[in-house]
């Protein structure tokens, strides 16, 4: 148990633990915010009370997840200072500013309007309420934008240079729009959306299987389906673009993702390893199934690579990521889930077009509904896997190619970090259990279909067609035009 006395390893474990737990909650609220905008919009447009009840029901999950997301997110910000002080000092010029932007652009917007979104139904008029819902969703997604901007910059630091151990920014916009930025933001945006859609879809399918309010939940399932038809394939495409970027900018990570130990020069074809057991000690895969010449097609849609593919052996062991097996399998798990989602989408769409998803028929779609229930947690697993690939694959660098993780950590007594790490492990596990417990309680209770619909008098006024009292025009005939 040597690592127990190594504060750098412990700080890494603490950051990883808090990040892995924290992401579970915002990943749902960020996507669900958009879903809530859709259902509330449908309610305002159609005045069908079902949509209002959907907004109220799903917002219960929203607030539960939001609360835990905030509680678990605050330690993330502080850890940069407590555990990664040298890193904070070195990159404060850019990275620190972006963390500040996240708080001011995103977090405050979300926090300020959430209260109105949740408790303001009777206090503000529908337009203001809808605006609040939109602003909450915008706030959450701006968080994605800023956090992914900061993280992308750690992957592909651009816009300046290291001078005397400090990153000096020459061009802020170049740093913000670093090579990874646009794709990473989109990839995460679609990931949150996809995760939330499949959670909503999975819970809806569970109700349908239970024959509880099937017509009500067929509605949410169809909204999910309509959105996910576009999202699932797009996510695969964005994912492909991200992989291609890793190939260009982070050769060590790509080699680990694909468990490639040997290099392949440009202009040649490389085999793609489908499944393998990577062995870091002997620097090869103990066992593998490969698809001949496929890697070029995967990276570039052609057989021969246009750039050399560097194998892990090209770097000294201390210059390349460890845990190759973890990175390799995390990557494959993410991809498998992405394709599973797209397949489920396709199948569901076919059934929809065949009329099998109507309120009358949907309860008979047992296998399809079971597949949706099964899909509900998969988005989370895909997101976690993706982040493992992204951040474990970046090692041994905190700022890729610039600052090593060992140099980024604060010099702390290991006992301090061990204590805080243990406390986090216990508290976050309890939060996880509590979240599942209370989440499933919301599901078991089900929607309250007897909620009064707010603003009904406003609705009446809006559609009021009773003719007013006739007032004779007393102006001269010439002026009556």
């Amino acid at each position: 148990m040597e690592f127990l006395s190594d504060s750098v390893v412990l700080s890494r474990m603490q950051f990883a633990l808090t990040a892995i737990f924290h992401i579970l909650w915002p990943v749902l609220t960020t996507g669900m915010g958009i879903y809530l905008v859709i259902v509330e919009g449908l309610w305002l447009k159609t005045r069908n009370p079902d949509y209002y009840l959907h907004a109220r029901f799903w917002s219960k999950f929203y607030v539960l997840n939001f609360g835990i997301g905030v509680a678990t997110g605050i330690p993330m910000e502080f850890q940069f200072g407590t555990n990664w002080a040298p890193f904070s000092e070195a990159v404060g010029n850019f990275f620190g500013s972006v963390i500040g932007f996240e708080a001011s652009w995103a977090f405050m917007l979300e926090a300020a309007f959430l209260g109105i979104m949740l408790f303001g139904w009777e206090r503000v008029n529908p337009a203001v309420h809808y605006l609040s819902t939109i602003l909450v969703a915008v706030g959450a997604n701006l968080s994605t934008l800023w956090i992914l901007t900061a993280n992308s910059w750690m992957q592909t630091p651009a816009g300046g240079e290291m001078v005397n151990g400090k990153f000096i920014v020459h061009d802020y916009f170049q740093a913000m729009f670093n090579p990874f930025m646009a794709n990473s933001v989109l990839h995460m945006f679609f990931a949150t959306l996809e995760t939330s859609l499949f959670v909503i879809g999975g819970i809806s399918a569970w109700y349908i299987l239970q024959k509880r309010h099937p017509e009500f939940f067929a509605k949410s399932l169809k909204i999910v389906l309509a959105a996910a038809i576009a999202v699932a394939p797009l996510q695969i495409y964005i994912g492909h673009l991200s992989g291609e970027q890793v190939y260009h900018y982070q050769p060590t990570k790509l080699a680990a993702m694909e468990a490639q130990w040997e290099s392949t020069p440009a202009g040649q074809a490389a085999d793609w390893s489908l499944l393998a057991i990577p062995n870091e000690k002997v620097q090869k895969n103990d066992w593998e199934i490969t698809i001949p010449n496929a890697l070029g097609y995967i990276l570039e849609f052609k057989q021969n690579l246009s750039e050399p593919l560097h194998g892990l052996k090209e770097w000294k062991p201390e210059d390349r990521p460890h845990l190759v097996g973890l990175i390799y399998y995390a990557f494959r798990v993410m991809i498998a889930i992405g394709f599973f989602f797209a397949g489920l989408m396709l199948l569901s769409t076919v059934q929809w077009l065949r009329g099998k998803l109507s309120a009358k028929n949907i309860t008979q779609q047992r296998w399809l509904m079971l597949a949706w229930v099964f899909a509900a947690p998969l988005g989370y697993i895909a997101v976690e896997s993706g982040w493992i690939v992204r951040c474990v694959g970046r090692q041994p660098w905190t700022l890729y190619g610039q600052i090593r993780t060992v140099d980024a950590a604060s010099r702390l007594p290991a006992s301090n970090v061990l204590t805080s790490l243990t406390a986090f492990a216990i508290v976050y596990s309890l939060l996880f259990i509590a979240a599942i417990y209370f989440g499933s309680r919301i599901i078991r209770r089900g929607p309250n279909l007897n909620l009064p619909i707010p603003g009904t008098e406003i609705t009446k006024a809006a559609v009021d067609t009773t003719p007013g009292e006739f007032v004779p025009d007393e102006r001269p005939v010439e002026a009556q035009q």
Binding site: I74, N93, G96, F101, A112, G120, A434
Partner: protein, 337 residues
């Protein structure tokens, strides 16, 4: 360029002071209400106390996140050094926040509310305690080398003066929490908090007097600062004004006014903050590293002013709007549907 290097860190010092002040004032009453909930006689009262905060605690807490992010960007050296030195108080505060935050969601969904009430109260207390020790430690001074990096030990933050600061800060939070509840509640509950406000006003006063007298005696650096011309006049004026404000607060509590006690308390907070600011400035790690030494590049500070500066009035506006939407007395003890 030289003027910029002088001027920009000052602008950021003021912005961060504003964020910190808004945080201490707004989340201050949240934490105070939380601590007071530990003394509530029954579950319905605790429910009303939590309802009075349900829609605002999160936005209030955000001012601290904003202060943290701003400090990180504007004074990276200070951010790293201070947080590194305050490892234990910071995590004590963070765990307090975690319990306080989740208590709101879980209590609503729970059948056994007592546990989550307790989590809310103790979470608030622990968070306030961590903050108090952090403040005390920063005022006492952080042990750094000539480049500004922390070289002290784990328990440096713990000292008799920092205990005094922590206890006084908690009293201050209880005071502002009590006056907030006087404003937001009615009947028996309001009566109770007229009383707690009076008790807290006295204990805060005692703490403040103790700090005012002991600080210049213990710390040589503060002493020389306090007796510097012309600041010495301001530093004499502050305690006098403070006692006058507490007297006004006391009378408004006697007259059973509803909003005035809260306003007087805020003015007290403003006054203490100005005092603290004047003692600390121009240091960001008192009396070792100045804001000029710890600041980020001028170009960074400019970018941050562009990206954050114009949002400050916007953020103030939508926070204010939120208070307007939820104005009036707290009615129920359930905050969701």
């Amino acid at each position: 360029m030289e003027t910029l290097k002088y001027f920009l860190p000052q602008v950021w010092f003021v912005i961060l002071a504003l964020f910190l002040f808004l945080y201490v004032m707004l989340d201050g009453f949240d934490l105070g209400v939380g601590i007071l909930s530990l003394t509530s006689s029954d579950d319905e009262r605790r429910g009303i106390l939590m309802t009075s905060l349900s829609n605002i605690w999160d936005a209030n807490e955000t001012w601290l996140v904003l202060m943290g992010g701003g400090l990180f960007g504007a004074f990276p050296l200070a951010y790293g050094t201070i947080l590194n030195a305050l490892y234990i108080p910071i995590f004590v505060m963070v765990f307090g926040f975690i319990f306080r935050g989740v208590a709101f969601e879980f209590r609503e969904l729970s059948r056994r509310k007592l546990f989550w009430n307790f989590a809310f109260g103790t979470g608030s207390f622990i968070a306030a305690l961590g903050q108090g020790f952090a403040l005390g430690a920063v005022l006492k001074g952080i042990n750094v080398d000539e480049t500004g990096h922390f070289i002290g030990s784990t328990w440096d933050w713990l000292s008799l003066p920092s205990v005094l600061v922590a206890l006084t800060l908690i009293q201050g939070y209880v005071l502002i929490g009590s006056t907030y509840l006087v404003w937001k509640t009615t009947g028996d509950l309001q009566e109770t908090h007229y009383k707690t406000a009076k008790i807290a006003a006295l204990t805060t006063l005692i703490g403040a007097i103790a700090i005012t007298i002991s600080t210049p005696i213990i710390y040589e650096s503060v002493r020389s600062r306090l007796f510097q011309q012309p600041l010495v006049y301001i530093f004499t004026l502050i305690p006098v004004l403070g006692v006058w404000l507490i007297w006004q607060l006391w009378q408004s509590l006697n007259r059973k006014e509803e909003r005035a006690p809260f306003v007087w308390t805020i003015l007290l907070f403003v006054l203490s903050f100005i005092g603290l600011g004047l003692i600390v400035f121009p240091y960001i790690i008192p009396t070792e590293i100045t804001i000029y030494e710890a600041s980020a590049d001028p170009s960074s500070l400019v970018i941050m002013i562009i990206f954050i500066g114009f949002l400050i009035p916007v953020m103030l506006f939508y926070n204010l709007y939120q208070y307007i939407v939820f104005r009036g007395k707290v009615t129920g003890h359930n905050y969701g549907e």
